[in-house]
Symmetry: C2
Subunit: 131 residues, 2 copies
């Protein structure tokens, strides 16, 4: 299982480090710009690290923004089940960790009775500051 991976490679560490230092999601080419001083010069080096970090749950992709955010929710590194709130004004993004929500969604069945253990939910609105 991908989640069992213990050690990150050099490039994976560099990329994770910069994403973790950012309070907000970072775009791939912004990451690239920021890691060029550390020797990662080309897009594939960044995208490969991003792919792996997403795979092992260290970061998540905010699909509606094409951006990447560090995971702050230990539970979801195992589940592939993610939820975020996104402010449409200041673009502030927060990961939602609600066991009630994740239970509800993991147990949700569609009309054919199908269940899904993997999902991504993005909520949109205005954050406190912007309201």
């Amino acid at each position: 299982m991908a989640q069992k991976k213990k050690y990150l490679s050099k490039n994976q560490k560099i990329v994770l480090d910069i994403i973790e230092k950012s309070a907000q999601p970072m775009k791939a080419y912004s990451i690239l710009f920021n890691v060029q001083k550390k020797g990662l010069k080309a897009p594939p080096q960044v995208y490969r690290a991003l792919d792996k970090l997403v795979e092992i749950g260290k970061i998540h992709k905010i699909e509606s923004r094409n951006a990447f955010i560090a995971c702050r929710n230990s539970a979801c590194t195992i589940t592939n089940a993610t939820a975020f709130s996104i402010c449409e004004s200041c673009e502030d993004v927060k990961e939602i960790s609600s066991s009630k929500l994740s239970k509800y969604l993991s147990n949700f069945q569609d009309k054919e009775g199908m269940k899904f253990n993997k999902y991504n939910l993005e909520f949109f609105g205005l954050c406190k500051k912007c309201k």
Copy 2:
């Protein structure tokens, strides 16, 4: 309000038409290719129509796939609240219309008590056929 719009423009009709004829989500450049015989020659013509159609709820964007699907759920043309199931094997996508789910998510509050009336939820798994 955008939802009150009654008539679509020529390009909007052309683009909607082709998306509605497709059982599955279509990518923008695939749409472009398909409408070139009808005179839409450049990406902005397609993207403008897509933007408007998304805005008025006639189509939805599947964010994780960068693709567009026609809305089959009259309720969500008003709500900006969408949910889909996506088969990770055959890429079959279905819009989920569950008033229970939409009520649950519209009433969901985050830790600061914030509510969101707009959201997008993408479930992933294997469809009946692929399981």
